[in-house]
Subunit: 272 residues, 2 copies
Amino acid sequence: MPIKPRSPCLSASPDAAAAAGAAAAGDPGAPGGPGAAFSPLYRQIKGLILQSLDRGEWKPGEAIPSELDLAARFKVSQGTVRKAIDELAADNILLRRQGKGTFVATHHEDRVRFRFLRLAPDNGKQARSRSRFLECRRLRAPAEVAKVLELRAGDAVVLVRRVLSFGDIPTVIDEIWLPGALFKGLTAERLAEYKGPMYGLFESEFGVRMIRADEKIRAVPAGEPEAALLDVAPGTPLLQVERISFTYGDRPVEMRRGLYLTSHYHYRNSLN
Amino acid sequence: MPIKPRSPCLSASPDAAAAAGAAAAGDPGAPGGPGAAFSPLYRQIKGLILQSLDRGEWKPGEAIPSELDLAARFKVSQGTVRKAIDELAADNILLRRQGKGTFVATHHEDRVRFRFLRLAPDNGKQARSRSRFLECRRLRAPAEVAKVLELRAGDAVVLVRRVLSFGDIPTVIDEIWLPGALFKGLTAERLAEYKGPMYGLFESEFGVRMIRADEKIRAVPAGEPEAALLDVAPGTPLLQVERISFTYGDRPVEMRRGLYLTSHYHYRNSLN
DNA sequence: TAGTGGTCTAGACCACATA
DNA sequence: ATGTGGTCTAGACCACTAG
C-alpha cells in the first residue's frame, strides 16, 4: 500500500487535518487499490462542495457560505477551503465577489452566455438574437445519441430544432438532443415563451446546469433544407459544430449539432 | 489619491513588503494617475519574472531559480513567489515539476504543440505530419498585415506558404506573415531542414516564443489554386482559420491564415 | 541525503460592500 | 462597524527526484 488514505472531514484525532492525505473526490482516480493517486485535502473539499452544488444545496445565483463557515463545517483551515474555491472559480463554477461573497455561477448573464456561443460579428456590432423553434418532440434515442448521452438504446430523448437569427438574418440552425428523463415537460411553447438564453431555462426550469462542453468543428456544404432555412444557395459552406455538454461529475446532458452561416460572423477562439 | 503605491522590491523600510500595494506590472492598468488599479505584490513579481523571461535570462526548456531563491531575490515570502508562478503555470508559460523545479515552457514537446494545432483525426489515429514549403520571401507589409503586426506600412515582413500533410494526404494550407525585423535569415531551406514544429524553430533560432493566439474561424469554398493543392474540387468547403499570435507583453508576432480540409479531421475545442 | 515543489495551518492586515 | 473575499507572511511537514 503505497499511499495511506485517511478519513476526510470525519477526522479521528483532533490534529488529523494537518498533513492529511485523503481519498480522491472528483478526480479520475481509481478505487482504493494499489495505484490510487494521492489527492490533497483541498481537492476533497472541492469534491464535497461540488456534491453540494450537484444536489442543489445552493442554487445558481445564490451565495454559498463564507470561507470561514465552510472551513468550520469541513474542519479545515480557511486557506484550504480557499484553494478549493479557487479551482472552482477557475472552472467558472463559482464566482467570487470581493466584499460580497462567493456565488454559484448562472447562465442568466451575458458574460456566461458568450462562453458557450462563440459566434461573433465581423464588425463589432452585436445584433439582437432571436430563436425560432421548428420542432420539439420526444422520441426514442437513436444509437449514436444514446451512446453519447450514456443512455440505453431506446431511452426517451427530446429533440429540439431551431433557427437562431441575428438582427433578422438567420444564422444558426441547431439540432439539440436532451435526455428525456431530465427534461420532462419541455415543449416548443415553453421554449418560445422563455426570455433569455436556453441554458438559463434548462438551469431554472429543469435544474440542469451546463458546466463544460467539447466541440468538433468542420466545414460542410449546405443541404437543400438547411440552405432554405438560412436563405442561401445549396452547397454554401457552413460551419458544423458538434457539441457535447456536461454537468457536474462530467455527466453528458446535451448533444447538439449546429450549422453556422459565417459570411458575417465568425467563430472566435483563444489558444492559451 | 485613492491608492498608495509603494516601491516594489526596492522596499525602503525593512517591513515594507507586508501589505504592500504595488504599481501594476503586466496588467492593463492605467498609468499612475487617479483610477490606477490596485495591483498586489504577487502580480508585480509575476511581471518581473515575465520581464526576465522576455529578455532571455532563462531560456525555454531551462529551469528557473527555485521558489526560495526567487523569494530572496525579490525580498518577499515564498508564498508570494509561489502565487506568481501559479499564474504563469496556468498561462502555460512555466511548467512545474515536483521534485525537479520550475521550467520555461517550450514548443519542443507534442504536449505544447497540440495547444496550437487543434486539428484532430476523426478516428483517433494521429498520422505523421509533413510540411512542404511553397515559398518563403521577404516583402513590404501590406496595409492589413502591418496593422495587425503593429508595424509601419511598408516595413519588411516574411511571407511563408506551406502545405501540411497527414500521412501523405494534404490537409492544411498555411499562409504565414512574420515581422521581417525578428526573422532575419529565415529561408525555405531552413524551414525544410528543420525537424519538429515550426514554433520550435522560431523559438530556438529566432528567440521568438509564441505565448497565446486568437483565432477567427469561418467556412469558405476552396478556390482554384487551393483546391489543386489539397486535391479536391473547387468549391469544396474548407475551414478558414485566421490566427494572430502573441509573445510576451501581448506583442503580435505572427499573422496566419490557414485553410483546413475537414473531411477526415476536425477542429477540436473545449468550452469551460 | 538534500533539494525542489506541494500542502496545510495560523494569524495579521488590506480592500470592498453593506448597514 | 461588521462581514466578506484578497494578500502576505512564517513555519511545519509531505511527496517527488536525483546524486
